[in-house]
């Protein structure tokens, strides 16, 4: 049994009268790839927003490496080692590709006004390191995001490359856990197959633990160690892909109940 990294205990969130998430229990071990699936509106993105500190849970606790994340700001959560991507790609569109991954290292670096003004040795060294790490994470996607692209604004990238840059930006924050919100949405089959392979590499070669929201069942099947199914803010099933894909509750959540059983 490997180290327990993230534990979510009896987590609920309500927006007005709406229960976006209800009594959710969840955990991730180090080195796992966990997929969170569920129909639209099941609360998957709220779940991510809550882990990353953008939404405050009404009840329950999120523990990361023995420390509660409740009440922390998003930037503090990121600093503790949880990075995320966004479902609707949200890059810094007018910053260059390199700047996008450089700025993501903000919480790992510390040079301030003084270093910048006097161009100290520490400042130069840190800038070089930021750049080096930035190019390294961009290099993860082959030649697509490096070379002459480094100094182009992110807005000229194709859709698939924007998604890749989002992943690179999350990697740049030097996290332990990466939350991927629909990483292959909008990609063509060949591209999503490639990214599936890369997600495996993220764990095997880079040592990241991955939690992923995904609708593409092919991707979920190929990479997940474990699948968690949400519906109406509740966990309805958990286990390997084979287990959940044959689970009657899951089938019901996605397809509805057969007509003769409905009462």
């Amino acid at each position: 049994m490997s180290e327990r990294l993230l534990t979510i205990d009896n987590l609920s969130v309500t927006f007005g009268g709406l229960h976006a998430l209800k009594n959710l229990d969840f955990h991730v071990d180090k080195g796992e790839i966990v997929s969170v699936i569920g129909p639209n509106g099941a609360g998957k993105t709220t779940f991510f927003n809550m882990i990353s500190g953008m939404v405050e849970p009404t009840e329950g606790d999120i523990v990361f490496k023995g420390e509660s994340l409740i009440g922390l700001d998003p930037n503090q959560v990121t600093a503790r080692g949880i990075a995320r991507t966004f479902q609707n790609v949200r890059l810094f569109a007018n910053m260059t590709i390199l700047e996008n991954v450089m700025v993501a290292q903000h919480c790992r670096t510390k040079q301030g006004v003084f270093g910048a003004l006097f161009n100290t040795g520490g400042f130069k060294q840190e800038e070089a390191e930021i750049r080096e790490w930035g190019e390294k994470v961009l290099g993860f996607f082959g030649s697509r995001l490096v070379g002459y692209r480094l100094d182009q604004p992110a807005s000229v990238l194709s859709y698939a490359n924007r998604r890749r840059l989002e992943v690179a930006r999350a990697m740049a924050t030097k996290p332990e856990v990466i939350l991927l919100d629909e990483p292959v949405a909008g990609m063509n089959p060949r591209e999503s197959e490639e990214l599936t392979g890369l997600i495996g590499q993220l764990r095997d070669e880079w040592g990241f633990t991955i939690v992923m929201i995904e609708h593409d069942m092919g991707v979920v099947r190929d990479v997940s160690d474990r699948v968690v199914v949400l519906d109406h803010g509740e966990t309805i099933a958990q286990g390997s892909y084979e287990d959940v894909s044959t689970n009657p509750d899951v089938i019901e959540a996605y397809l509805g109940r057969p007509a003769e059983e409905a009462s």
Partner: protein
């Protein structure tokens, strides 16, 4: 945006009477409205004393005459889109311009008749015989009624005809007009520069009439010089003559760095030498511009880099000014205990920096958690609160209330005292601090902090999710801006020698913001250009500019300029590359696509990631 060469098919010109009548009438009525408005705003009468070309053209008449030309041009200008066929311009466009001019002129004719027959001076203070006389060219009512449609027709035809000129003629016409106006507007500076220390009276005697304005031979000479320069420009565009600007743009790497160094050193040396050649008035003008450059550079960090719309920026200027005044003047409020010393300007400056940082944090802390409009409104409030505090009886014992603080000494450097009576010295002081501000903005923009500011400007929630402590980083922007503004305040106090709450009205905040916006948000050069144009030519909130006669209409022109810039060139005079991209996202993407730099979603394996840059 430099669009690629359009490859449009041209259709033959349309018949002269094939007009879009509705459009022509609309533009004509609009022109009439603008002409009447400008007349009743009293521009022609009050600017009549300033001559452009003696004795033919005064600034007053010019304030009316340029409008039909522009309207005549606008009525038939079309947006040319890539790859769509367009009609060639011809008699139709010229006629449209003329008709617009006639309708606009009829508006003024109507005004002439109305002024002659009715007295509306009560609500409209400028409904005056002076205006009537001016509109009639001093020749009686009949002449006045007839001349305007005729004049309007002529000017409108000229405006419309600009469409059928070749690009070369248009460029040259532009340069000729620009040269004549430029030589006329910069009269004070040019005379000052050429005659104060240098023995070039014969040049200014040739160009200028003795009581101001260009002489006729001067106007012709200026036009010829302008035409010549315009022709050179055309040749440069055709690649016949090399242009330094294009050469510079092609430089890369170390050569570019070297060119930059040379440019910076040249600018520095010019800044050092220029004031020596200039007289009092121009140096005073430069000092005022410098103060606003300093303010605008500070606001540029806050608004341009970090994207925080601060409408109460004058607060920091006020804190700098008052702190300096209180710490250096013997005449400060009498409630101060004895241990508060009466110190030297530079010693005071250290306290000022400290106070500016504290004020930045104090105002920033509550404000920074807000976004967008709310933040703007709250900063607006804080700007006023600070001024009212200085004005209040409650602090009157410390700040002098409405009487302010007087007898502020200059900056004693040992060998010379820098004070308001010596604008040249003030200018040097300002220039040193501007250089400091430029260095700070430049270094910070390229640092870790600068990148964080950019990210916050782009998308604050994502920036926070990417690990940026937005509160701290935004506070930092506030503090840097506050310190730069307080420098300006400190110099301002030493310059004017006395400080009153009325020096720090909200208008100052607005003017600084307009300088930043018009100049080019996020661009250091743009901010300097903006300050030079607005403060130098038009004048600051209280400071007269080159066109001192315009002081009445300063705000009107600021407003018009701001609207024009927002519509036509939102990125400012000297744009920041990034801002331009933000504001012209679609055009930019199209350009990039045309240069085949946008990568298509890959279809055929890894190769497509390696499309070579164009």
């Amino acid at each position: 945006m430099s669009a690629p060469m359009a490859t449009n098919e041209t259709l033959p010109a349309r018949a002269a009477l094939d007009q879009e009548w509705r459009k022509v009438v609309n533009h004509g009525l609009l022109l009439a409205l603008v002409l009447v408005f400008v007349s009743l705003a009293n521009m022609p009468v009050s600017l009549d004393s300033r001559m452009i070309i003696e004795p033919m053209l005064s600034m007053g008449y010019l304030s009316l005459l340029w409008i039909p030309v522009v309207m005549g041009f606008i009525v038939s200008s079309e947006k040319v889109l890539e790859g769509i066929a367009y009609h060639a311009k011809g008699a139709r466009e010229v006629l449209a311009g003329g008709l617009v001019g006639v309708i606009g002129g009829l508006g003024l004719s109507l005004l002439v008749i109305l002024i002659d027959n009715f007295n509306l001076r009560d609500p409209l203070v400028n409904w005056s015989p002076a205006l009537l006389d001016l509109l009639q060219f001093g020749n009686g009512i009949g002449f006045g009624v007839i001349i305007w449609p005729v004049l309007g027709f002529g000017l409108g035809v000229f405006g419309g005809a600009l469409h059928i000129f070749t690009a070369m003629t248009r460029t040259i016409v532009g340069w000729v007009v620009g040269a004549v106006l430029g030589v006329a507007v910069f009269e004070t500076v040019i005379i000052d520069l050429l005659t104060e220390r240098l023995p070039f009276e014969f040049i200014t005697d040739w160009f200028y009439f003795i009581r101001g304005g260009l002489s006729q031979q001067g106007a012709v000479t200026a036009a010829l010089i302008g035409g010549g320069l315009g022709y050179l420009r055309v040749l440069a565009q055709r690649g016949v003559v090399p242009t330094p600007v294009q050469d510079y743009k092609q430089l890369v790497g170390p050569e570019r760095t070297r060119a930059n160094t040379i440019i910076i050193i040249t600018c520095g040396v010019a800044t050092a030498i220029l004031p020596l050649l200039l007289g009092r008035i121009t140096n005073e003008l430069l000092a005022n511009v410098g103060l606003f450059v300093l303010l605008a550079l500070g606001l540029n960090v806050v608004v341009g880099l970090a994207g925080i719309l601060d409408l109460g920026y004058v607060a920091f200027f006020a804190v700098g000014g008052y702190a300096t005044a209180i710490l250096t003047s013997p005449n400060r409020g009498d409630s101060w205990p004895d241990w508060v010393p009466q110190s030297h300007w530079f010693a005071a400056l250290l306290v000022v920096i400290l106070l500016a940082i504290l004020t930045g944090l104090f105002i920033g802390a509550p404000v920074i958690r807000m976004r967008g409009d709310y933040l703007a409104i709250v900063t607006l409030g804080f700007g006023e609160i600070i001024r009212l505090l200085f004005l209040s009886d409650w602090l009157g014992g410390y700040t002098g209330g409405a009487q302010g603080v007087t007898n502020i000494p200059g900056v004693d450097l040992g060998f010379v005292e820098i004070k308001g009576t010596d604008p040249r010295a003030i200018f040097y002081l300002v220039a040193v601090f501007c250089a400091l501000a430029i260095y700070v903005s430049w270094r910070l923009e390229k640092s870790r902090l600068g990148r964080a500011w950019m990210a916050i400007r782009e998308d604050e929630s994502v920036a926070e999710a990417m690990g940026i402590n937005t509160v701290n980083v935004k506070l930092m922007a506030f503090v840097v801006g506050a310190v730069l503004a307080s420098f300006s305040g400190a110099i301002f106090a030493a310059k004017v020698g006395s400080i009153f709450p009325t020096s720090f009205i909200i208008l100052v905040s607005i003017v600084i913001l307009v300088v930043v916006i018009v100049g080019g948000m996020g661009n250091i050069l743009g901010v300097i250009a903006g300050a030079a144009v607005l403060i130098g030519v038009l004048g600051g909130p209280k400071q007269p500019g080159l066109l001192a006669e315009f002081s009445e209409f300063k705000l009107l022109i600021y407003g018009a300029l701001l609207i024009f810039m927002m519509l036509k060139r939102p990125e400012g005079l000297v744009p920041n590359v990034r801002r331009t991209r933000e504001l012209h996202q679609e055009e930019f993407l199209q350009d990039a696509w045309l240069r085949s730099q946008v990568d298509a979603d890959e279809q055929d394996g890894a190769a497509s990631g390696e499309v070579a840059p164009a």
